[in-house]
Subunit: 193 residues, 2 copies
DNA sequence: GAATTATAGACCAAATTATTCGAAGATTTT
DNA sequence: AAAATCTTCGAATAATTTGGTCTATAATTC
């Protein structure tokens, strides 16, 4: 390969598809290798471990998502509701990310019950946001899969943090501030700005 | 459980969801058990093996699909094109089945290239039918996963068999005959009539 | 043509997996 | 209420899978 970074990107894209479909645990290095048409051991020349690949994939997806959100929201003049609507339309992207979540916590499906409970407090649209939250919770716990209580707590904290900028109806809060608050809550510590 | 058959049905529905999502190989008995909120070993009281569960699931899905197709096509007065349209609308059901296929042949993704080649000969709608064919091919080879050449051949044979009743434009062929021919090709040996 | 970069096949220890078995709760039958 | 049967599951297991390593070797660069 000409460039080491280029090959890493190829791995990220290719493995990303498999991860998003089957999740971390169910995705095997053999599959990733096969998709890349390479020997399994060759991948270890570019990545240290399966976890490193996964981390790179999630970071990549988070960056895309963050960019999409930032530019999209900035181009909206009307208030917060339009933003919500946009997020709803972009659900597909979130779905991809929420698959990572499904994957990571494949043994803790109970979290969805929790989300369902929360959902009832808001409109259907908020589901899209909740997916983001899921992702956020997931990202924070990728390597702490075992501790589901910690996960639940992380999700709850994120929800709490989102309540102010997203769900409050106070019109006087300026949209730019809300945007930044939301992005901060969702991506803080995940994506370098 | 009151009734043995009733519990088997529960397993089929529950396991079916997991199978359709992750496929045969990636679905574990632990997952099925967890979804049923039962001990893993209890399932073996009702089913002999994971394969038996899978077979029951696929049979169940095939029966539903067959019934849907039969009643739907029978209620259509205009020619074959309307039927195609219906099939197109019902794509969701087929998607579920095609997931089984993905799952079973998770290492033979090349088949999809083959399908793509075929697709170009027909309209987009035919994709729906092709999914059915995929399913058919899958069903025929569930327990011959290793031999991918045999699979390709099975799919080709099915396609060939479908060409006459489905894709030929000859108006003189009566729709009832076509229907039977199609169902025969697709479900022959799979679902007891 | 030596040194470095890149690839993959054989291999391994650890983990996972489908399945078995026996024991113990239930429930029904006598 | 004892016996017989039905249902459940935890623990054990044998076979397979899996992430990762090591070594040999091909390709590229110097």
């Amino acid at each position: 390969m000409v460039n080491k970074e280029e090959f890493r990107r190829k791995v990220i894209v290719s493995a990303g598809q498999i991860f998003s479909r089957y999740g971390f645990k169910k995705t095997t290095m053999d599959e990733i290798a096969k998709a890349l048409k390479m020997g399994k051991s060759s991948i270890y020349y570019y990545f240290e471990s399966k976890e490193e690949i996964f981390e790179a994939v999630v970071l990549h997806e988070a960056n895309i998502l963050r960019n999409e959100l930032t530019t999209a929201i900035k181009s909206v003049e009307s208030p917060i509701d339009k933003m919500r609507n946009y997020v709803f339309v972009r659900m597909k992207s979130f779905e991809k990310l929420s698959n990572y979540y499904n994957a990571i916590f494949d043994k803790n499906l109970d979290h969805f019950d929790f989300i369902e409970t929360i959902r009832e407090k808001y409109d259907r649209e908020e589901l899209a946001i909740l997916r983001l939250i899921l992702y956020h919770g997931a990202r924070k716990n990728i390597f702490n899969v075992a501790n589901s209580e910690y996960t639940a707590l992380a999700i709850q904290t994120t929800l709490k943090g989102l309540e102010v900028p997203l769900f409050w109806k106070k019109k006087e809060v300026n949209i730019e501030n809300r945007l930044n608050a939301i992005l901060d809550v969702l991506f803080n510590g995940i994506v370098k700005k």
